[in-house]
């Protein structure tokens, strides 16, 4: 062979070596990995993963199948779900193989007050309901079955009213019946493989049709089935044991200090012959005859990878196969290598139960010296764990070969099927089975069906309606608190992993929740410890054959659960009123609106009235809604509010003003609130931290509470309103006119109606012309528009030379009208700085011109005390004269003339008279004084005549001209008013003073207190009269008859 050929051959061989080497190196880790994946216990007993184990799948995609689901929507004819409305729930299933008409819809209805009396775990229900009303199956508890019955009865009955129905006979049960699939009964037709749990059995046949449920979060599918554990036997010569590491014993041995000789000769020898010594720690058998599934059981160590391992019940004990020997010097201990005598190179040791002391020759007859030799044999394995020993037994110690057949395995096999339909269950007394194909008379009666027909509601046989075949709609009369759910059963769109053509029969929950299953799924380790197992697995071999537990690589794993799906129903209830799939809106809500849009606040009380209205929606009885209004003020002043704006509740402050009454702010039917915008500057400044001179924001909130007919719902709404502040001022001045009727406002003179009270209400005389001006020194305001009682008022050069611009800040207004009528003058302008509209107003009241004389010092001149008047409660109040005053002799009288309206003070001519004599030196003086020279008992008559209207007659005429020229007011309408006022001052003795006002006395007390005076007076009169007449009589009696001479 040539060199080249040789080289090629070598290369070929090398390539094959490399390939095989790579393959084997890849395979080996899989085996090792599988062995090391067991979580606890022995690593020897682990299974090799099946096809669909987690480790054999990339990304675990086989578990991520879409499961069937259902969406429920609610609708009502009126569009609003209210008490008594007929609500229809419509289920829209998805990912089922069959169409809707072949699916089973189990509807369930929880009425308000029908909470479960017990939870699925047996604990007491959160809100247990009224058993008398809600326990429809008569079992003494309120369960989900009662809810199913509540809904199913409605479905079956439809509009049929069974009142008066005697249920004496019915149509053929078969006609009304419907046999569910899978059947709830074992029949020959179904090969005795029905879902007989629905008939009352505990478990279905092993081969009953499978069913599955998907854990919502992980997407893992569980087969509803029981499984049985199987622990394999040990090979011949081996036995299953449970051995525990770290075992030691206390042994009695000869005391090395003991001298038998000396002891024999000395009766008082004190040294004891034996002492107690504790052995070292070793692996020792703790249970040499464990019972399967009791002392030793099969544990699922890795559910995802379908792995199991045998475990001992004793804590920390290892389940293992050990060689049981009686012929070795070890006296039954399991040793490796297993030689006789025991090898000095012992690699593994498991002591027989309770064999430490004898195995270590630790006894009372053995001298310590010999003990040392024996001890050395085993002491080298002290502290060896049972797992290590087991490992040596199986794998050898490197010199001696182990025995892999001694690996103790366990596995699971599938047991009974626990699938059941979730149909409503009839009470036992009815004697029927739902979905068995026969709908008996008793069943008709229980469900309220019409016994005379096969279909009471006209849509499918009665029993078909009971099982919910194709019943994708459920309508019922809604009452507040009702909740509805549905669970849809059918074959999903996905096939099972079994070697058959079956599709996974699954359920879809209305809210896609099953917390119980999620909890079990999240607790991955389940045990076969004798208690009911709920989550487990089993392996199925190829073609459905039994899986060899020693070689599971060709097997398929199935996760199983025994969970009762009824325990998932409660969390899948839906509230029609808050379901996102509803096209109804039954929540009570409020919308609040206000007008006017830009109201004005005026602390003087002339502000706008803000009318706020709350409109309610979705209320069954809006007239019974109880409202509560609150008003808040933004602390940011005129800055537009944002989410973080701070608000202060000023409701109480406004009630105190009052801007509205407390009674208006809350109560039934109080859907409107009128707020008088008369907030004081102090209130605003006390709240607002920002600028509020040009406005502030109010948030007016309304809360409405519905009555029971509205489900006692609460609703809230609010509106934010920008309130403008009455800035700038309207000032009023007196007016003069020239002989052509041109008016002039005395804006440099005294401002009229300047007091706080007069700013709210300015009294003016009829036909008086007032000059009105808005202070605009900064020229911020432009485009003035004036109105008097809604009628436009203008001022231009034809009216006054002071009106330089058409839309200026000055105007002359004649106050036209009758006595006690009002004139409102408003000015609107635009603030060029803020570009906001400004509105100002003044309120005028036409009053009759009046004048009065008053004393400026009541210690000198005081009104005469007339007496008392009594009010309705009998309280006495002193009454003083307005026209008769008193003054002390030799004092000085100070008198003041006061006018209504006050503007007349400067527009009037005054002439004073004292005792009829005109005092010209006092002319036009509003205040006078003169000495009281008269004596006591005399009096002064003080008078003054007031002639109204400004200045001389020509001024009056000029004003007349102006009224005629500018406003077409006839001169005859303008009357010169003159009024005479008088006052009498009685002079009293010096030292007199105004009768102090006494405290108000009650009427009865006053009468009683004066009664003695009047009675005393009468008594005096009577006594005096009698005395006088008596005296006269005495005089007549004593006088002689013929005194002086007789006369005719």
């Amino acid at each position: 062979m040539g060199k080249k050929k040789k080289q090629r051959k070598i290369n070929k061989i090398a390539a094959w070596v490399v390939v095989f080497g790579v393959i084997f190196s890849e395979i080996t880790p899989i085996v090792v990995q599988a062995a090391s994946l067991t979580t606890s216990g022995s690593t020897i007993g682990a299974s090799i993963g099946p096809i669909n184990s987690a480790n054999n799948q990339r990304m675990g995609t086989s578990n991520k199948q879409q499961s069937p689901d259902v969406t429920v929507s609610f609708s009502v004819a009126s569009g609003i779900i209210t008490q008594g409305a007929k609500v229809t729930a419509t289920a829209a299933p998805g990912y089922f193989k069959d169409d809707s008409s072949k699916l089973y819809y189990t509807w369930y209805l929880e009425r308000n007050g029908c909470g479960l009396t017990k939870n699925p775990d047996g604990s007491k229900g959160k809100n247990p309901g009224d058993i008398n009303r809600c326990d429809l199956d008569g079992d003494g508890e309120i369960t989900v079955n009662d809810w199913k019955i509540a809904a199913t009865q409605i479905i079956v009955k439809g509009s049929y009213d069974n009142t008066g129905e005697t249920y004496s006979s019915s149509v053929d049960p078969g006609l009304s019946g419907y046999e569910a699939n899978p059947s709830p009964s074992n029949t020959s037709a179904n090969g005795n493989k029905g879902w007989v749990i629905n008939s009352g059995a505990d478990v279905n046949s092993v081969d009953a049709p499978n069913c599955y449920v998907q854990e919502p979060e992980s997407g893992v599918n569980y087969e509803l089935r029981k499984v049985d554990p199987l622990i394999q036997a040990c090979p011949s010569g081996y036995q299953k044991v449970c051995a525990t590491s770290g075992q030691n014993a206390s042994c009695e041995v000869l005391n090395p200090s003991y001298d038998p000789v000396a002891a024999a000769g000395d009766p008082n020898y004190a040294i004891p012959k034996t002492i107690t010594q504790t052995t070292d720690k070793f692996c020792a058998i703790t249970n040499d005859s464990p019972v399967d599934n009791k002392d030793i059981y099969c544990k699922v160590t890795d559910l995802a990878n379908f792995q199991t391992a045998p475990y001992c019940n004793t804590p920390n004990a290892v389940a293992m196969c050990v060689k049981y020997s009686t012929v070795t010097a070890a006296e039954g201990n399991a040793v490796f290598p297993d030689t006789t005598p025991v090898s000095s190179s012992l690699a593994a040791l498991v002591f027989k139960k309770n064999n430490l002391c004898s195995s270590l020759n630790r006894n009372a007859t053995t001298p310590p010296a010999w003990l040392t030799t024996k001890n050395t044999l085993f002491s080298g394995l002290q502290n060896q764990t049972c797992e290590t020993a087991q490992g040596v037994f199986v794998n050898g110690d490197g010199t001696n070969t182990g025995d892999t057949s001694t690996i103790l395995n366990c596995s699971t096999t599938k047991a009974g099927n626990v699938c059941k339909h979730l149909f409503a269950k009839e009470p036992r007394s009815v004697g029927g089975v739902v979905g068995d194909g026969k709908f008996t008379l008793a069943e008709k009666k229980f469900w309220g069906a019409n016994p005379s027909v096969s279909s009471t509601n006209g849509s499918g046989a009665d029993e078909a309606n009971v099982v919910g075949l194709g019943v994708d709609k459920f309508s019922w009369l809604y009452t507040t608190g009702d909740q509805v759910g549905v669970v849809v059963e059918g074959d999903s769109a996905f096939q099972t992993n079994h070697a058959d053509a079956a599709y996974k029969r699954m359920w879809a929950f209305s809210n896609n929740q099953c917390t119980a299953l999620s909890d079990l799924h999240n607790n991955p380790v389940s045990t076969f410890d004798g208690s009911p197992t709920v989550n487990s697995m089993y392996l199925e071999g190829p073609g459905g054959a039994t899986c060899d537990p020693t070689n599971t690589s060709g097997c398929t794993g199935f996760l199983t659960t025994e969970l009762d799906l009824d325990s998932c129903l409660e969390e899948n209830l839906l509230d029609p009123t808050s379901n996102e799939n509803s096209d109804v809106n039954s929540k009570l809500n409020l919308q609040v609106v206000s007008e006017p849009a830009n109201p004005i606040n005026d602390p003087a009380g002339r502000g706008d009235t803000l009318n706020v209205t709350a409109a309610s929606f979705n209320s069954q009885d809006s007239n019974s809604l109880s409202y509560n209004w609150t008003v808040q003020l933004s602390r940011d002043g005129s800055m537009a509010p944002i989410d973080t704006t701070s608000w202060k509740d000023i409701t109480t402050d406004l009630e105190a003003i009052p801007s509205f009454s407390a009674a208006d702010a809350s109560g039934i039917g109080k859907q409107k609130l009128a707020i008088k915008l008369n907030l004081s500057d102090a209130l605003i400044k006390g709240v607002v931290t920002g600028k509020a001179s040009d406005g502030f924001y109010l948030k007016i909130k309304a809360k409405a509470k519905g009555t029971a007919i509205d489900g006692s719902q609460d609703a809230e709404g609010f509106v934010m309103v920008k309130v403008r502040q009455q800035q700038n001022e309207i000032k009023i001045y007196g007016v003069t006119a020239n002989n052509t009727g041109m008016l002039t406002m005395d804006s440099g003179g005294v401002e009229l109606c300047a007091s706080a009270a007069e700013k709210s209400r300015c009294y003016v005389a009829q036909n008086e012309i007032v000059g009105i001006m808005v202070d605009n020194k900064q020229n911020e305001l432009t485009n003035f528009s004036w109105k008097a009682n809604g009628a436009a008022v203008t001022c231009d050069a034809s009216v006054s030379s002071q009106c330089t611009t058409a839309a200026g800040n000055k105007v002359f207004v004649p106050i036209l009208g009758n006595e006690n009528e009002a004139v409102d003058v408003t000015a609107k302008a635009v603030n060029t700085k803020t570009n906001e509209a400004v509105e100002l107003s003044r309120h005028f009241v036409i009053t009759k011109m009046q004048a009065q004389i008053n004393s400026t010092d009541e210690t000198k001149v005081w009104p005469k005390f007339l007496g008392y008047y009594k009010d309705l409660n009998g309280n006495r109040y002193p009454d003083y004269s307005k026209s008769v005053f008193e003054a002390a002799q030799n004092s000085t009288a100070d008198l003041l003339a006061t006018f209504y309206p006050s503007s007349l003070a400067d527009q009037s001519q005054l002439e004073w008279t004292i005792d009829g004599e005109t005092k010209y030196e006092l002319s036009n003086k509003k205040q006078i004084n003169f000495p009281i020279k008269k004596t006591e008992g005399e009096s002064y008559n003080i008078g003054f005549s007031v002639k109204y209207k400004t200045g001389s007659d020509s001024q009056v005429n000029n004003l007349r001209k102006a009224l005629l020229k500018d406003w077409k007011i006839e001169p005859a309408n303008l009357i010169d008013e003159q009024e005479n006022v008088s006052l009498q001052i009685n002079v009293v003795s010096p030292g007199s003073q105004k009768v102090a006002s006494k405290e108000v006395q009650s009427g009865l007390a006053s009468l009683i207190s004066h009664l003695p005076e009047n009675l005393m007076f009468l008594l005096k009169i009577v006594v005096t009269s009698g005395a006088l007449l008596l005296l006269t009589g005495i005089v007549f009696a004593v006088m002689p008859e013929n005194i002086f001479s007789e006369d005719n």
Binding site: T913, G916, T1032
Partner: protein
């Protein structure tokens, strides 16, 4: 009239006037009441008990209406002239006062004049002209006019000296009233004339004040 009766009457008049002057009153009502008691009730009681004369003795009759009207007319003229003189030269009207309320409205004025003033006129007429004048006339004849006027003046001076100007119309007209009463034998005409004088004066005052 017997002297006994005359003297007894004088005693009665004196005593009653003294008691009247001293009797305590605290208000206008009591004042009017005691005036009615002392000036109306007492004389009537005295007459009933002691004098036993008919009421027409005291001028409570129409009497001689011609004389009454005539002398009333004369008296009014003279008195008005007197008031003119005293007003013009002595400023009577400046010191004469009227209640301010009667200047407020005509109704007040009417009520005041025809109720209050008339009542006072009646009281004074009955007592001073009806009782005193005709009693004293039995002994003093026409001098009784002066007597009753002086008695009235004394009473005013004692009681109402601070209100002299207020009583001046009564004082000035007192003798004229006595004359009218004696001439007509009736106090009706003197009373009416007295009332008219007051009315005229008050009207003038109201006019002046207004």
């Amino acid at each position: 009239m017997k002297y006994k009766e005359f003297l007894g009457t004088i005693f009665f008049i004196t005593a009653s006037l003294i008691i009247y002057a001293l009797f305590p009153v605290i208000n206008s009502f009591q004042q009017v009441f005691i005036m009615l008691v002392f000036f109306i009730a007492f004389p009537l009681s005295f007459n009933k008990l002691f004098l036993k004369k008919k009421l027409n003795f005291y001028g409570l009759e129409f009497g001689n209406w011609k004389q009454g009207l005539l002398w009333s007319f004369y008296s009014l003229i003279i008195v008005c002239f007197i008031f003119f003189i005293i007003s013009y030269f002595f400023g009577f009207l400046k010191n004469y006062s009227i209640p301010i309320f009667i200047t407020k409205s005509f109704l007040n004025f009417i009520v005041y004049e025809f109720l209050l003033t008339a009542l006072f006129v009646l009281i004074y007429e009955f007592y001073f002209r009806g009782f005193i004048l005709f009693i004293f006339e039995t002994k003093f004849s026409f001098w009784a006019i002066l007597v009753q006027a002086l008695i009235f003046l004394s009473l005013v001076l004692v009681i109402g000296h601070n209100s002299l100007f207020l009583f001046l119309p009564y004082l000035i007209f007192a003798p004229f009233a006595g004359l009218i009463a004696l001439k007509s034998r009736s106090i009706i005409y003197s009373g009416v004339a007295q009332f008219l004088i007051i009315l005229i004066l008050d009207t003038l005052m109201v006019r002046i004040i207004s």
